[in-house]
Symmetry: C2
Subunit: 270 residues, 2 copies
């Protein structure tokens, strides 16, 4: 039995069913969060809930559950799952609407909230290319929230795999370096750690914020040629940090142990 | 009873249920088509199916149904619906995947195909502004297929409604005129009809292709100031053409009757 949480109830996943008129399915009208569970404890919950609400607000989706209800739901699923280390995904959509069209009347809105736990995949050293198929849209507010609109990232990932890499660096519309397909990019250039500012069309990652403090990272605009100057690199998201061991035709050393990146994923004092 | 078609079976919509692990719901990993039914007949079916397959191919989603099966499904739903004029939506996704991550192994792919009929809304004269919240991404192949990634269009529509308009003209990353939130934009400037080329980040609409022929429309790059030079304008999609009667602070005449735009929506000889 694999339990999931759907609109306030824990049910077996075989019984969890969505309406095909859900606007998350029809129009990517929603947001999500992916939360690391380590030693049985979900990390950075307050920050995840705050970002979920910020994204929902950007799309104009009400969140008719308080943090406590989501917290209890996550705790129950995690405890039932038996995984001490796992990934929790929380998905919020505007919910089902039988009305056609982009914008349903407000009184028709019954949001969907879905929570599930999955096993965590191992940290894999990344071999990166630069995606040529598509780019991040720095003009879109969606680039700075965790919306369901993942199509461009899917295309970039597919291109990377087709070309024999594990992932791709995505450029933005200006041709500057933005991020990877599921995480923020950190580069060591001339001895200094750098990452792109959010205005370049990137998600303000929760691990990213912690790494900026931990490694005194500078938020600077990074042009594409700078990728070739990197002497070390890694990619971060809320689940893990992965070393980049190959970037734009050059091998790079794995600095993750020396930098003690794993220590980031620990429960913080309130 | 309202019937829908889900993965080859006609069921009542109350029984049509998707897995919350469907990648259409989780990551906007899919495409759709919206098809006009007029006098009981679905229009432009071969073109709609071809565009659906082109979009699926762009995302690497197999389509395990032939055109005949989809055709029969649509005909059954239309006949049961009792609507002589309606809108059919066909949605294709990569289907459910319990595996986390952007790219599931190919042997885990079981696409979802969902078809539903809805009543057609009346043609409403449009009052347009220019969206400032977000822009089309002309670097993304998704801008030229009918993908589920509708977030930017939702934001632009919401902005328009919040500011007292019915819809918005969307610019692209270069600041040029792209399209409206659910249709292609046509402008009459100095006596000539123009529309943006697909390279500006717009969907190659099926009505658009027919209008280009009918009105000898020129596909040209349109900068934002050109909007103020328009002496007539309308927006088209596969369901209908709507006149634009207000654009960037100026009233415009409704030319739809004179141009006989409705005649576009008729069954074509094979």
């Amino acid at each position: 039995m694999n339990s999931v949480w759907l609109n306030g109830k824990i049910v077996d996943e075989s019984e969890a069913r969505l309406s095909p008129f859900d606007r998350g399915f029809a129009l990517a009208d929603g947001v999500f969060e992916t939360i690391r569970v380590r030693h049985g404890a979900p990390l950075w919950l307050a920050d995840h809930f705050a970002r979920l609400r910020l994204g929902a607000d950007c799309l104009g989706i009400p969140v008719p559950w308080d943090d406590g209800a989501m917290d209890v739901g996550i705790a129950s699923l995690v405890s039932e799952s038996g995984h001490a280390d796992s990934a929790v995904r929380v998905t919020l959509t505007r919910g089902p609407s039988r009305r056609r069209g982009l914008w349903p009347p407000d009184d028709h809105v019954h949001p969907t909230l879905f929570i599930a736990v999955a096993a965590l995949s191992q940290v894999t050293p990344q071999r990166m290319t630069v995606a040529r198929t598509t780019r991040r849209n720095q003009h879109s507010p969606l680039s700075q929230i965790k919306s369901l609109n993942y199509g461009d990232n899917l295309l970039a990932r597919r291109e990377a795999i087709d070309r024999g890499y594990t992932d791709a660096v995505m450029l933005n519309g200006r041709g500057n370096v933005a991020c990877c397909t599921v995480g923020n990019l950190f580069l060591q250039i001339e001895g200094r750690w750098v990452t792109a500012p959010t205005s370049e069309g990137i998600l303000p990652g929760l691990a990213r914020a912690r790494l900026i403090k931990k490694l005194a990272v500078a938020e600077v605009i990074i042009d594409e040629p700078a990728l070739k100057q990197a002497t070390a690199a890694f990619v971060s998201n809320s689940l893990q940090c992965a070393p980049i061991v190959y970037l734009c035709g050059r091998s790079l050393p794995d600095e993750s142990n020396r930098l003690d990146l794993m220590s980031l994923y620990s429960r913080e004092e309130m």
